[in-house]
């Protein structure tokens, strides 16, 4: 089945990402979904590098690279100035990694969401601080190896549920998206920018370098994350109306975990515990969708 996407490209080739970088693929789809006029605010993350040095940048939109903890705040300021100048057409988009969203940037994101700033905040999630050398983040999944959760003491806690956090702010729109489902992702970007207020997209973006996988399987892994229910595709409107966009096959988590070097130390019992977590999260999501 051919993929139907907008044909325009606002990201050139020649970016500086590692081979197979999910974050680079995700940016391409974001820009396909955005209108002609957009400004990106990018706090410290892999994309501080990937875009390349101006004027050789891979991006055809203006970018404000900003400090790590300020994704929500800087976008708020840009939006205020555009509004003051009567420009309501230009989209203001924050593009941040998981560390800049789940951890150091959570305060400014929460502030922006509470004020219901008219911005789109996109978190591309590669599940660790990859740009500084694979340190654990609040988005790192249970059991994963990183340089700060070495195999002797892998990450004991769960990945932070950023979607629940954002939904609790009762923002107009929050959705998950994946580089393995480009039409779904582009549709969500288009829907987000059609709404006023704070919109949040959580995009799954595998990192071959940090996950210790071959570069050619990042899209496959992203698909597996959806089909194992580890990263289901869903939307939350006004913080309460949940819609699951795709019914996953429900493969066992082993299919996903066994392909990745960062999980190779996990035992059968570990995987069973992780399966139970995933099942529990999925049942909870289904229940929320039923209520919604």
């Amino acid at each position: 089945m051919p993929i139907e996407l907008p044909v325009h490209e606002r990201m050139y080739s020649g970016h500086l990402a590692c081979p197979g970088c999910g974050a680079a693929i995700a940016m391409r789809f974001l820009l396909k979904g955005l209108g002609e006029k957009a400004i990106l605010s990018i706090p410290a993350c892999c994309w501080s590098i990937i875009g390349g040095p101006f004027p050789y940048t891979a991006l055809q939109v203006p970018v404000l690279h900003t400090a790590f903890e300020t994704g929500g705040a800087v976008a708020s300021g840009i939006r205020a100035a555009l509004d003051a100048r009567g420009d309501t057409e230009t989209q203001v988009v924050t593009w941040a990694g998981d560390g800049g969203t789940f951890d150091i940037g959570l305060q400014s994101l929460s502030g922006a969401a509470e004020r219901n700033e008219n911005i789109l905040y996109v978190c591309y999630d590669n599940e660790a601080y990859m740009n500084t050398g694979v340190q654990s983040s609040g988005a790192t999944p249970t059991g994963a190896w990183t340089t700060t959760t070495p195999t002797g003491s892998p990450k004991p806690t769960r990945k932070k549920d950023i979607m629940q956090i954002m939904a609790a702010h009762r923002i107009p729109y929050a959705a998950t998206a994946s580089i393995a489902y480009p039409e779904d992702m582009v549709r969500k970007v288009q829907k987000a920018v059609s709404l006023k207020g704070t919109k949040f997209l959580h995009v799954y973006a595998p990192c071959p370098t940090g996950w210790k996988v071959p570069s050619e399987i990042s899209v496959k892994l992203a698909r597996l994350a959806v089909q194992t229910r580890i990263f289901p595709l869903y939307e939350v409107e006004d913080g309460v109306r949940y819609t699951i966009n795709l019914e996953p096959v429900g493969y066992l988590v082993d299919e996903y975990y066994r392909t990745q070097g960062r999980f190779k130390h996990l035992t059968r019992e570990d995987l069973d515990r992780i399966q139970a977590q995933v099942d529990e999260n999925w049942e909870r999501l289904k229940a929320l969708a039923r209520i919604g």
Partner: protein, 380 residues
């Protein structure tokens, strides 16, 4: 202060490691039992090393959500009795400034390793700089006196990793190891001694935790659980820890004592190292990695018959002004090379009393000895 000698954790003798690993090992050897941090280039190897080593030793490691959280966890841990540290680089160090002032004002012993990179702002994240020298001293608001050390080798990273804790405990003060990327990422030989001398906290549960009779005293450091009712506050407090936010005398006495307790002890805190100064007519005053280049330049200039020496500053704050003043009386000219636009230069000028020439380089590279040789020939 009570001290004890503890056996080194690493096998005594020769090791080969980076400065970042060495400062972590030096801290561990001196009893660091809590590390809280947040990844940032070029310091992340310290955190990664701690993430592996602390659990091995049965001690605690915590990855925090940002640098504010990191330094504040360290403050909390120190008050609960731990020897606690964090490490960072420029942007993270900037975020730590409010807490640095809090630590100075509450007299919290703790260690921050700042592996400096080329700033300001994000700057050149992987490149070297020495632009945080003034920030270490003046970064938080109000008057206070931190201690800052400047290592020039992996060996000194190891040594200062331990010494920083001893200074912090002895003077109840935040101590900053002002390393530079070039030292943090420098792999070289270090010699691990069989044992390390460790300053222990003086336990005196009945004593006033925040004041002394002397105007420059250091009160004994209590800890939660020691038996005294303890209230720690960043507001102005009297010797017992009661908030006194309207009392002019309490505020003045406290702020003055916090400065005096460090400045009055400059002679025991400040360390400098003299290289070929006996007959010198001109001298470099340098610190950190730049002192390595300066020493090589001195050797080359000596080979050309120039009587040049080097005074290396191992302590930057409190500034070793007596050593520089003494040097200024003996030489005709002082040469200050720095990887910034002139930060220590001003302190040298204040102390030296002789002509001072300066060399600034902010291109993210270490200063080459040849550049210092040409410059020295020009200005002397």
């Amino acid at each position: 202060m009570p001290t004890e000698t503890v056996k080194s954790l690493l096998t005594p003798g020769t090791h080969y490691m980076s400065g970042n690993e060495a400062v972590a090992e030096g801290a561990l050897a001196a009893g660091c039992d809590f590390y809280a941090g947040y990844p940032i280039t070029p310091s992340s190897e310290i955190m990664e090393h701690m993430a592996r080593r602390l659990p091995e030793l049965g001690r605690r490691f915590a990855q925090m959500e940002d640098e504010i959280a990191s330094v504040c966890a360290v403050i909390g841990a120190s008050w609960a009795g731990a020897r606690a540290m964090t490490a960072t680089s420029g942007p993270g160090f900037s975020l730590m400034m409010e807490a640095l002032g809090y630590a100075a004002f509450t007299e919290t012993p703790m260690v921050i390793v700042d592996v400096q990179r080329a700033g300001p702002c994000t700057g050149q994240a992987t490149r070297v700089g020495a632009g945080d020298v003034m920030q270490a001293k003046w970064g938080s608001h109000g008057d206070y006196q931190p201690v800052a050390l400047s290592p020039w080798s992996a060996q000194e990273m190891y040594d200062m990793g331990g010494e920083a804790f001893n200074l912090a405990e002895r003077y109840r003060v935040p101590v900053i190891v002002l390393a530079e990327e070039a030292v943090g990422h420098l792999y070289e030989r270090i010699d691990v001694p069989p044992s390390t001398r460790v300053v222990r906290r003086e336990r005196d549960p009945g004593a006033a935790p925040f004041g002394t009779k002397e105007p420059d005293g250091v009160p004994p450091m209590p800890a939660f659980g020691d038996g005294a009712l303890l209230l720690v506050t960043g507001s102005t407090h009297d010797p017992r820890g009661f908030r006194r936010t309207e009392d002019p005398d309490v505020h003045r006495r406290l702020v003055e004592r916090l400065s005096r307790k460090i400045l009055a002890r400059r002679s025991e805190i400040c360390r400098t190292e003299a290289h070929l100064l006996e007959d010198a007519e001109a001298a470099f005053v340098a610190y950190g990695f730049t002192a390595r280049s300066a020493l090589e330049a001195v050797r080359q200039l000596r080979a050309q018959g120039r009587r040049v020496g080097l005074l290396r500053l191992q302590t930057l704050w409190p500034f070793p002004r007596e050593a520089v003043a003494d040097l200024g009386r003996r030489v005709c000219r002082i040469l200050v090379p720095e990887m910034n636009l002139g930060q220590v230069e001003g302190e040298v000028r204040k102390a030296a009393g002789c002509p001072v020439a300066t060399y600034h380089q902010v291109d993210g590279q270490v200063i080459h000895p040849d550049a210092l040789v040409s410059w020295a020939l020009e200005v002397t």
